[in-house]
């Protein structure tokens, strides 16, 4: 089968849309790691928690209020902000000064706990068939499959929304970091927290703010995930976290615009390489599951050329 231009453009568009979601998912992780050197490996689980909460909300609340299920994303954004703040104050704050290992283990434990709760339908996790997203719910079936067309190109509505959110929210976050006092305080803390502290910045408040912001971004990503993918209890660690790590490192830790660019790059590489996998002459054809290999190959090559990622290592520029 020959590779048609149209298919190629469609794959490119799909990749860009998917990339916007990747960037949103990775930005919070990158922010938290950049500011407080905490690797929040529960970030994937946070996204899944948010996705479940969105499903729950869109079943129980939005139909009763007769509003679009998409509004489920907002309470979910707030919920994750609250969760992030609590996790920081109750756990991370007490151990982060000891080095990066303790927070890593603590967030790892947290992700296992959240996964356990999710796979058993306990707490905030609805006991619905976990292999289905919102699409499984009759009242929203039409929503999830809503697509529109620009010329011959198809766009899935919720995916397009993820793209729009990424290109709107992340530059706003970047502006916040570079133009406001609080944003600069976050950057100062990430560059030298002790110097920030003796320059008069309350670095505990700054770390709390960055953890809340990062977690709220996970909430946003999770809400969108619920509308675009099938949500499973373990998708956070199995699907999302590896992609998040690639995007964060590629974009440069702490660089929000770098994360956005890297998200697009990874999204496009994945979709185009799976297209290529299917269209190679039969003797060279490889299985579509191997397509991620191509992504990782590109990832390694870029890091060999630019060890600090595409955009250096700071949110400064």
């Amino acid at each position: 089968m020959a590779l048609g231009t149209l298919e190629f453009v469609q794959a490119l568009v799909n990749g860009l849309l998917q990339g916007g979601f990747f960037a949103l998912s990775a930005a919070g992780f990158s922010l938290i790691f950049g500011v407080q050197k905490v690797l929040n490996v529960a970030h994937g689980a946070f996204i899944i928690l948010a996705a479940f909460a969105t499903i729950q909300f869109s079943i129980l609340v939005t139909p009763a209020l007769h509003i679009d299920p998409l509004f489920s994303i907002f309470p979910d954004f707030l919920m994750l902000a609250l969760l992030g703040g609590s996790v920081y104050l109750l756990i991370i704050y007490r151990i982060e000064r000891t080095g990066f290992e303790a927070p890593l283990l603590a967030t790892f434990g947290l992700s296992i706990l959240l996964e356990y709760l999710a796979s058993n339908g306990i707490g905030p996790f609805p006991a619905l068939d976990p292999s289905h997203g919102i699409g499984a719910q009759a009242q929203h079936q039409s929503y999830s499959s809503n697509a529109f067309q620009i010329g011959p190109i198809f766009l899935q509505e919720a995916q397009a929304l993820a793209f729009v959110m990424a290109v709107v929210v992340l530059p706003i976050l970047q502006l916040f970091l570079s133009r406001t006092y609080r944003g600069r305080a976050i950057r100062a803390t990430s560059q030298d927290w002790e110097a920030a502290e003796f320059s008069g910045i309350n670095t505990k408040a700054v770390r709390l703010l960055s953890f809340i912001t990062g977690s709220a971004l996970a909430g946003l990503a999770g809400g969108l995930f619920a509308f675009t993918n099938s949500v499973t209890a373990t998708a956070g660690d199995e699907v999302l976290l590896p992609v998040i790590l690639v995007v964060v490192i590629l974009g440069g830790v702490g660089s929000i615009l770098g994360t956005l660019a890297a998200g697009f790059l990874v999204g496009v590489t994945m979709s185009v390489s799976s297209l290529i996998a299917l269209t190679l002459p039969s003797q060279f054809q490889f299985h579509a599951d191997l397509a991620p290999l191509l992504t990782f190959l590109i990832f390694i090559v870029i890091l060999m050329v630019r060890p600090r990622g595409l955009f250096g290592h700071s949110a400064a520029e």
Partner: protein
Amino acid sequence: MLSVDSVSASYGNLRVLWDVSMSAEAGEIVSIIGANGAGKSTLLKSIMGLVRTQGGEIVFEGTRVNGVAPHTLVAMGIAYVPEGRRLFPEMTVRENLRMGAPRRCPEVNERLKFVQDLFPVLEERRFQLVMTLSGGEQQMVAIGRALMAKPKMLLLDEPSLGLSPIAFEKVIGAIEKINREGVAVLLAEQSSERAMEISDRTYVLENGRVAGSGLSDELLHDPMVRLAYLGVGT
């Protein structure tokens, strides 16, 4: 204004300060001299809340400040210029200065003007990233950042570090000017002679203990001090 009363400090099991007592009054310049490893930096860090102290008491303007967070001390009126400057490397000169002032600061422009009058070169370099500045210019940014807090007392750790004699003289001139504006200065220095010349009183630290103290003019002519710290005979 500031009094340190039998304060000790350790890094792990290594005790570095032993019952150190000292004081500084409003309007004074006080210098702390001593050999490498004597504990000068540790003393300033203890005052600034960056090192946990054991025993003793640190009192600033009548308030006990042991264990108070550094950013709170800044709000109370103590500013700190650390050894090695510790600027925010990926920020511009202007951004570094801005971080020294509180979030809500109606007089931020007056403070910026004060710093830029003190160090005119910083005005020209204001949009430059600080890591591209010379050592002397970086020291000016570090002092300027501390002054943006409009402190009552300024702690300076080894401002001569890495500076040419000419650059250091500029910094010395600035310190005297800041002091004339009514800011008390606590100056830890290896270049003991210049520090003592501009200060009212001096404390000599030796192996983490106060080995001597007095009016700087008198200590400058003390043969023991001259031999041990100024590297000259009578």
